[in-house]
Symmetry: D3
Amino acid sequence: MDDNDQHERGLSLRIDMFGREAVEMRSNAFGDFGKPLQHIINAYAYGDVWQRTALPPATKSLTMVAMMAAAGHVNELRVHLRGALKNGCTAGEIQEVLLLLTLYCGIPAGNEAHRIAAEVLREEGLL
Amino acid sequence: MDDNDQHERGLSLRIDMFGREAVEMRSNAFGDFGKPLQHIINAYAYGDVWQRTALPPATKSLTMVAMMAAAGHVNELRVHLRGALKNGCTAGEIQEVLLLLTLYCGIPAGNEAHRIAAEVLREEGLL
Amino acid sequence: MDDNDQHERGLSLRIDMFGREAVEMRSNAFGDFGKPLQHIINAYAYGDVWQRTALPPATKSLTMVAMMAAAGHVNELRVHLRGALKNGCTAGEIQEVLLLLTLYCGIPAGNEAHRIAAEVLREEGLL
Amino acid sequence: MDDNDQHERGLSLRIDMFGREAVEMRSNAFGDFGKPLQHIINAYAYGDVWQRTALPPATKSLTMVAMMAAAGHVNELRVHLRGALKNGCTAGEIQEVLLLLTLYCGIPAGNEAHRIAAEVLREEGLL
Amino acid sequence: MDDNDQHERGLSLRIDMFGREAVEMRSNAFGDFGKPLQHIINAYAYGDVWQRTALPPATKSLTMVAMMAAAGHVNELRVHLRGALKNGCTAGEIQEVLLLLTLYCGIPAGNEAHRIAAEVLREEGLL
Amino acid sequence: MDDNDQHERGLSLRIDMFGREAVEMRSNAFGDFGKPLQHIINAYAYGDVWQRTALPPATKSLTMVAMMAAAGHVNELRVHLRGALKNGCTAGEIQEVLLLLTLYCGIPAGNEAHRIAAEVLREEGLL
């Protein structure tokens, strides 16, 4: 597959998951300096790995939430919590992942992830 | 609920997920020194958080795999990959989580997790 | 022991260590979404592990400070620095832990932990 | 070598790399509480390890950027990005390190490091 | 650019840096299960990011060593230490990066990285 | 203070804590390549920070155990568990730190630290 097609395919899925406005804001945040980074995100993450179909989008999102919270990536956790809601996950399903996190990555990681999740759920009127 | 009941309920679920032999080996590995740790695992992890029902066991296992791989906990990753297979996850579903991991936690984390997964899949005759 | 008793016993110790106002604020921060997390904190952390008596509270607090700073959990470090002062640790004792941290977890971790500690010591009029 | 001489030699190199104002601000931020930390930074980091001459300053700075970004030390990353520019690194060289980071430590680490780098490059009128 | 060309270009650079035998062994280690991972490594890492030319290969390798050691990725550190020697880095240059690491990521990280580096230098008859 | 004196003072304390044989083995493990690393350990860690007297050696050792376990530095954890026993800590005190770790850094970290501690306690005939 041509690299540009892969980029476009990825950008399109990314817009479906997070909305055009949010994606454009993040895409342009670092100007030309950020172009090669955006290519990695669009072509390699959303244009390749996220195109796979062994798992439904909601399950992928929950594993992303688990991964970002476990690695302490707070900003990316916020992004993927919004993606999880968009992909149909419920607050109760997210809570269950965060409770496993609390036991397996510790109370501070659990606390921090609950704080971000509560913010996102409030934004969406779900808390 | 009484703490002992919670412990027994957890131990029972743990044996269902990993088999009696593996659980007994891990439970006794540190003798009396490990008793309070085993209580945390049995009563608080498997007796409480794992008893929740918002997510099917296979989905919980995939988020555990994501979390353990993201945090670099290699031994625990092996345990929860076996649990994932027991809970009905396929090699293709596990692979998809590990590819997201590779993009979002980096190639070395992805490499390491594929190595452990390949070992577990070979043990089970699935590779 | 009954789980509710363990929860109450933990909550009571937690209020002794951090003050009622701070504990209530943190307990209610995420509403119902945070209830199971609070149960883990009250019943399993403060109602079980913190009830053990092999170490005096000041020593436990210093190991908590070491752990939170080493793991980069800045918010939780702030909480446990306040707990350390409440449990009778001096600024000099905390400084000594943070200097070991600087050598063993590196200058950036040491810098960050000194920054949080200086904030907490200033709040308490100790700097 | 006498410890005081090593301290002075380090402080002097540190001022060359980051400017007197920035170094004084950071040196005094924690008052007496921060004195032994500052000694570690001046005498042991800048007075010893940074005095070595196997690598040119620009290369040292790029490895510092790589290290701080990989370890998630955002504040220290900002400091060493400024040091990298002072030591003669270009935006394009920094970008190349951050793209390796994106592949080898994952997209969230890459995103975060690009964000900090864009801030520093803007401050310096380079973006 | 076509994705297959990018893959081939990357594989070719990878073989230049690490030798055909080592690359083939790693490429085949996980059979079909590892194919998509190998595509990420060949097409996206070595076929894209490593193709950039703002930095000489030796400098890229030193930042990779810094990154892998800082993130605690011991196996990947070993691989990139070999790549660094292949790309013309000296033992003294590597040592200087590892000493910065020791101060900025802590003595245990420094110890571990020295241990791996000593192994690689001995293999190559350089220690 | 002269740097050589600081080095000798540190080496002497290190030998008191870990025994001459273990220190010599570790000191010589990397030959000349490891000399500057050994200087950091002897002069800066044991010759400076460990010389401070605000905390008794046993308490310092427990915070080191907490820090090394929280950061996942398994080899260094083993070294400092031996140091903790030498400095008069009991198995019960170590266990209490590891249980706090289990709740605050998660079950896999707790498991791993218990495994290393059980090995060290068995070596010393304490388990």
